[in-house]
């Protein structure tokens, strides 16, 4: 009964085009945002912030990026890790060049470097599609992670070949580095992710999003309608890589505090891809659900035995989580190829007509 549109008449196309046309959704999202911005910082433990919320948010952003490319534009990419790396190393160089510039600005700027690199590696997509393109992006992945180690300039010639995050303050409060409190970092990550998610939502519901989906669904027809395939695909690569780049920069500066080439290896790319699949190709919400599930699951699995008083080797838990994640991917593809997001939709649909079956 609670979830009904009855009596909510839309008097303008504006109202109908809104992000959340249904009142209950608007209320819901407000409550959730309030909770995320106020409730969580007050209640959550530092472990919850550092090892659950911040990672999930960062990975969600990367997943969103990949989803724009793979889910919305239909271009399969295995180079996500590499593009995240570009963002991270770019941000590191920026902090050394402009030590006094607001770190958040730098994090966002580093996205543009990733976008540039992404566009370059997107060029083959003009000629090749599908699995072939996936291989092209693999080339990007391996080439980039090679660069991160082979070009010492990128990590300021540190003997450790890794990048450490200097402490940066904002209005006197440390926001990066070891002294920055988890809450501060969480709030920054949350704000950036919320902002960029809103932007993504706007893009996909507008002209650009439609051209992307048109290319995904039937590129030839799209062409005959007057859509320039090349520009559309490259734009998708650029935007997607931008998101991945920002995610990578946040991963280093607001989450791990240190990174090396290996932090952005092929497995990272696969992990993000799994999140997108499980969450739902072509759904922004899905990117978040997927990230939460794939990242959260091992943590829960690791802790669950202790919770039930069992003693399981942490290694075993790790392996079990592999098995379960794998099974989950297959399971979701079978019951709902469109991922968690679609399940959510279906749930809402049921709720909407409840108590009647349809």
């Amino acid at each position: 009964m609670l979830y009904r549109e009855v009596g909510q008449y839309k008097t303008s196309y504006g109202a109908d085009q809104a992000l959340f046309p249904i009142l209950q959704d608007r209320i819901g999202i407000t409550v959730i945002l309030l909770f995320a911005f106020v409730g969580v910082p007050l209640t959550a433990s530092s472990f919850t912030l550092d090892s659950v919320l911040i990672p999930v948010l960062v990975l969600s952003l990367a997943a969103t990026g990949l989803n724009l490319l793979t889910g919305f534009t239909g271009l399969l990419s295995l180079g996500t890790g590499g593009f995240m790396g570009v963002g991270a190393f770019a941000c590191y160089k920026l902090t050394t060049f402009f030590p006094n510039v607001n770190i958040i600005v730098l994090i966002l700027c580093s996205g543009f470097f990733a976008a540039a690199v992404g566009t370059v590696f997107g060029l083959p997509s003009l000629r090749i599609k599908g699995f072939y393109l996936a291989v092209a992006t693999l080339a990007a992945q391996f080439f980039l992670s090679w660069c991160f180690i082979r070009i010492p300039w990128l990590y300021n010639y540190n003997v450790s070949a890794s990048i450490e995050v200097p402490t940066k303050t904002l209005l006197g409060i440390p926001v990066t580095g070891p002294t920055a409190s988890p809450v501060t970092r969480y709030l920054i990550v949350l704000s950036i992710v919320a902002l960029l998610t809103l932007v993504a939502a706007n893009l996909v519901r507008g002209r650009i999003g439609r051209t992307w989906m048109a290319v995904r669904d039937m590129d030839l027809a799209a062409q005959l309608i007057g859509i320039r395939l090349y520009q559309t695909k490259l734009l998708a690569f650029a935007v997607s890589s931008f998101y991945c780049g920002v995610a990578g920069a946040m991963m280093v500066f607001l989450w791990l505090g240190n990174a090396e080439s290996e932090s952005f290896n092929i497995n990272q790319s696969f992990l993000i891809l799994f999140m997108v699949i499980i969450g739902g190709l072509g759904s922004l919400l899905g990117s978040f659900l997927g990230a939460a599930l794939i990242w959260g699951l091992p943590i829960v699995l690791r802790a669950a035995p202790a919770f039930f008083g069992l003693r399981i080797q942490s290694a075993t838990a790790e392996q079990a989580s592999f098995v379960i994640v794998g099974a989950l991917i297959i399971f979701f593809l079978i019951v709902e190829p469109h991922g968690l997001a679609r399940l959510w939709q279906i749930g809402k649909q049921k709720l909407r007509v409840w108590p009647f079956p349809y």
Partner: protein, 442 residues
């Protein structure tokens, strides 16, 4: 809506965190062990994990812990991944851990800044950031008995010895095959410096992580370049592959020498007879013939409280794990002695580590006579730059083929301080050391 999901997992995690912390009772000594029994580095990780684990369990079973206080051991699987390592750290840091053993250079680097702030000592035994040996800049980080730079200087000393003096290195060609990451890159400055001083040339063979098991192309280059010596800084699946490829290309094994992380039985064994003669550094004894290890077999393995496979007790990396735990245990005893407390915390153990002194005599008392060189750590020098020896694979086991060789401190220290300053200057503002030095007060 996504945040609902987050909130859920958050709730789950916090509940979990709670229950876990209850697991660690108040009157225990909590020592988390970061281990990796999964992934491409597990072959090196598993025996070390077993050794560390078994020794502590033995102390619990035999002596009822340390100073009458039981040890609470908790393994955390990192899979040698930095994210997992940091997650492990976050999951234990609130439970008053006495010391962190990352067992990964990458994770150590990630934890150095955090631990210094959270006031938790990090014990990275002969790995991690060499520069962290400078106590003035890294009061919370300890990496005895020797740094990679010490290791490299020892290797070169050994080579020079075989060639009949450093003078004879002139015009020689030394090949350096290394894991293409921070760990393998670190010794290069020292190697290059020596090359300049003694007029030998260095050829570098990086092994990308993705290529650890596909080195045939690289060893072709070795065959072309014909280095007089090959030095290896390898880890995980890279080691056995390298030894095998060396054997294949017919490189003289007694001129192929690995660092102490490239010296496990599993590194040499797969190459079969071909590996005969392969050399590697080591700073702990190999073999099970020590009272303490006998006790492990008696109190732990015989009781079935261990997942150590039969026959691996006394293997090099198992003993490395034992040594790791023995040193930590000694540091805890130290801390109890200094603070006159039974239940010590991380800050106390830091002091314990800074006053660490294990003489040959003490090693004997610990039931590990001649197991390792005497170790001394001071508040200026968190490493000690101790000696290591060279061991050789005889086809079935490791044999000690050299005396204890001391590192060339005079060459290492300048680099060390340079690197420390570099690190500190790049990570401004770096916290000034506030902790007092006990070795003065004691």
């Amino acid at each position: 809506m996504h945040l609902k999901k987050l909130a859920l997992s958050a709730a789950a995690a916090s509940v979990v965190g709670l229950s876990a912390s209850q697991a660690v009772a108040q009157d225990t000594l909590f020592v988390p062990l970061f281990t990796y029994r999964t992934g491409p580095f597990a072959n090196s990780g598993i025996p070390i994990a077993n050794g560390m684990h078994d020794y502590f369990n033995m102390l619990n079973a035999r002596d009822g812990g340390i100073g009458g206080v039981k040890l609470a051991i908790q393994e955390c699987e990192t899979g040698y991944k930095n994210e997992k390592g940091v997650e492990c750290y976050d999951s234990v840091k609130s439970k008053n851990p006495l010391v962190i053993t990352p067992y990964s250079t990458g994770i150590t680097l990630a934890l150095i800044p955090k631990a210094s702030v959270d006031r938790i000592p990090v014990f990275s035994m002969a790995y991690g950031l060499s520069a962290s040996a400078v106590g003035a800049d890294f009061p919370w980080i300890f990496n005895p008995p020797a740094t990679y730079w010490d290791g490299m200087s020892i290797v070169l000393k050994y080579i020079a010895g075989k060639e009949g003096g450093f003078a004879n290195l002139k015009g020689k060609k030394i090949g350096y095959i290394y894991f293409d990451g921070g760990y393998g890159l670190e010794p290069i400055p020292l190697l290059d410096q020596f090359a300049k001083e003694y007029g030998f040339s260095v050829t570098k063979y990086p092994v990308p992580p993705a290529q650890m098991q596909n080195q045939s192309g690289l060893w072709l280059s070795v065959r072309r370049d014909r280095p007089d010596w090959m030095v290896m800084w390898g880890w995980g699946a890279m080691n056995p592959t390298a030894v095998q490829e060396a054997a294949k290309t017919g490189y003289p094994m007694d001129r192929f020498i690995g660092v102490w992380w490239s010296g496990s039985e599993d590194d040499a064994r797969p190459a079969g007879a071909g590996a005969k003669g392969y050399l590697s550094l080591n700073f702990n004894a190999v073999g099970a013939g020590y009272p303490a290890i006998k006790d492990i077999e008696k109190y732990v393995i015989a009781k079935g409280n261990s997942q150590t496979p039969k026959g691996t007790v006394g293997d090099n990396f198992y003993n490395r794990g034992v040594m790791n735990s023995a040193v930590i245990a000694e540091a805890i005893r130290n801390a109890q002695r200094i603070t006159h407390k039974k239940v010590v915390n991380g800050a106390d153990v830091r002091r314990g580590l800074e006053t660490l002194k294990i003489s040959d005599e003490r090693w004997k008392q610990l039931g590990l006579p001649g197991f390792a060189a005497a170790i001394q750590v001071t508040c200026q020098d968190h490493n000690g730059h101790h000696s290591a020896y060279v061991q050789q694979w005889d086809g079935t086991k490791w044999v000690k083929v050299s005396d204890w060789i001391s590192p060339m401190k005079e060459k290492v220290l300048p680099l060390l301080y340079g690197a420390a300053n570099d690190y500190v200057s790049k990570n401004q503002p770096w916290p000034k050391r506030t902790e007092a030095c006990d070795d003065k007060t004691l």
